[in-house]
Amino acid sequence: MNTRLKTAAYVGPGLGWLALFMIIPCGIIFVYSFFERGTYGGIDFIFSFDNFNRALDPIYLNILLTSGRIAGLTTLIALILAYPAAYAISCAPTRRQPVFLFMVMLPFWSNYLIRTYAWIVLLNREGLINNSLEGLGLISEPLPLLYNEFAIITGLVYNYLPFVILAIYASLSRLNPEIREASEDLGASSLTTFLRVTLPLTMPGIAAGSIFVFVLSIGNFITPDLLGGGRLMMVGNLIYDQFLSARDWPFGSALSLMLIGVMMMLLFTQAIAVNKSMGERV
């Protein structure tokens, strides 16, 4: 077979899928964002920038900032929890590593929604944590654990932690152990070796994990809805509401575009940062 034809045969299905279900819908959102909302929820094809002007209103910008803060904190906490876990797994005997990785992936065997509901049971005023703490006499009144930012971040960290562990584990296990030994051999303490050798060399894993958690967190609407109890609105909820409750597709599209823009910028800066720290060939 002709090589060009062969390439087309291999690449075609994947590319076609992306074009059909990713680029075209994005195009539709892009186009819709410049039109006006019809009286009964349809679209009036009148060109305007109103949707973007409205999205820049402080109310909506605030929601975007809150979402960014929550996603950022989630990412940070996930990284702090994931790195030691990934490190420990990569140091375990080679035969046991798949077992630990399997355990990391185990939560995915149950449904996302069910896992999130489980947190309601745990964090409730009458929930397991508050009851236990009261039972031990450590607190006299239930702690406000549910329906706030703390609950949302807890839920998001819990859900995305496995991905961060996997991403960091992948880059740690690719690291030649002799490189760390060389650092120690040359007189570095364990801490210096970690800061100057291990950490910089696992930056790609850290970046990949961070992007993953941040992007999925900032657009998430189920966790803020269930664990935030609707008191805290994230940009995902806002977009959800525009499309499904308010039936204002053009405004929802404009918000979506802005979110996509923020994510693209982040991906781009992170890609550059990683490239720099890894010192790719010029």
């Binding site: 030649n176 002799e178 060389a182 007189g187 303490s189 720290s277 890894m278 010192g279």
Partner: protein, 360 residues
């Protein structure tokens, strides 16, 4: 040999390391002298790398001690030992430039930046890496990487430099150059080098002394010449260089071999006649003639089975009368080399003093 003053730098005292039920290093006793080029030689899995890692501090022995200048350093962490290791994979820091890689060890010592920079500059210059100082390891050739690894390990002026298969990643031609280069460097810096290798030729060329290891034990330790000419066991005889071996029964003045008769050689006083023994002779010690040789030499006849041309010499594979094979090396300058062809009837002769009789 450069072994004027014999000051022991490192002494290994009954060093033993086990991994599960496997004993990787078994009661090794060795000492490395000041300013010596020492080779730990052996087939893969003989424990030579484990031994090296115990000296560097990456493995803690189950028994025995590592003594450096008389002090017990067995439990000392690798970063506290005045010993540096050049890894087989080189283990360069991929995210640092050549310069940063080389200065890393000095930075850890916390010396001031002026002194540090001048020493790094000096090292870059002597290793001819100054033009590559700004490059990252993945922009270097194999030979350049090897030089960086060497410079990085040497800049701290360790008491002993350990090298784990330092030349194995290089191609054959470069390897030959680097063998001499390493030897020259060792003389220049005056630091004890302990090199691990599986390549007997490399060990013979570079080392002042060699310890040949097998299954975690030092089989024989000595100068290259001693190991080559006076192998203490069949394993040593066959591992170092090419060797013809004939198995038979020991007599008072040689070994009686089935189908070949008595082959003579010096028999040790404490050996008993009748026990199993092997007579060994180097291929270059055998002389080929086309007529039966006269005199006292050992002589066996056979037919040329195959000829291997090496340029400087000819490898003659001889099928002996009892069906066994022997290898004879004939110099290209020897007129007989021209007249040999397959199935030529020949005699192989050597003096009994070139026979080695091995009973283990």
């Amino acid at each position: 040999m450069t072994m004027g003053v014999s000051d022991t730098v490192i002494r290994l005292d009954h060093l033993t390391k086990r991994f599960g039920s496997m004993t990787a290093v078994d009661g090794v006793e060795l000492d490395f002298q000041e300013n010596e080029f020492f080779a730990l030689l052996g087939p893969s899995g003989c424990g030579k790398t484990t031994l090296l890692r115990m000296i560097a501090g990456f493995e803690i022995p189950d028994e025995g001690k590592v003594l450096l200048d008389g002090n017990d350093i067995t439990q000392l962490r690798p970063n506290r030992r005045p010993v540096n290791l050049m890894f087989q994979s080189y283990a360069l820091f991929p995210h640092m430039t050549v310069r940063k890689n080389i200065s890393y060890g000095l930075e850890m010592d916390g010396i001031n930046s002026v002194a540090l920079n001048s020493r790094v500059d000096e090292t870059l210059e002597t290793t001819q890496l100054d033009e590559l100082a700004g490059r990252k390891p993945d922009q270097l050739s194999g030979g350049q990487r090897q030089r960086v690894a060497l410079a990085r390990a040497l800049i701290k002026r360790p008491r002993v430099l350990l090298l784990d298969e330092p030349l194995s990643a290089l191609d054959k031609k470069l390897r030959g150059q680097m063998q001499l280069e390493l030897k020259r460097l060792q003389h220049e810096v005056g630091i004890t080098f302990v090199v691990v290798t599986h390549d007997q030729e490399e060990a013979l060329v570079m080392a002042d002394r060699i310890a040949l290891m097998r299954d975690g034990v030092v089989e024989q330790c000595g100068k290259p010449h001693d190991l080559y000419e006076n192998p203490g066991s069949r394993f040593v005889a066959e591992f170092i260089g090419a060797m013809n071996t004939f198995d038979g029964k020991l007599t008072d003045n040689g070994v009686e071999i089935n189908g070949l008769g008595l082959l003579r050689g010096a028999v040790e006083n404490n050996s008993q006649a009748g026990m199993n023994a092997t007579l060994a002779v180097r291929p270059e010690r055998i002389k080929i003639t086309k007529t039966p040789p006269m005199g006292e030499d050992n002589s066996i006849s056979g037919k040329v089975d195959d000829l291997a041309y090496h340029g400087q010499d000819l490898g003659v594979h001889v099928r002996l009368e009892n069906g066994a094979m022997a290898l004879v090396r004939v110099s290209a300058a020897d007129p007989i080399a021209e007249s040999l062809s397959d199935n030529t009837k020949i005699w192989c002769a050597w003096s009994p003093r070139h026979s080695r009789i091995l009973t283990s």
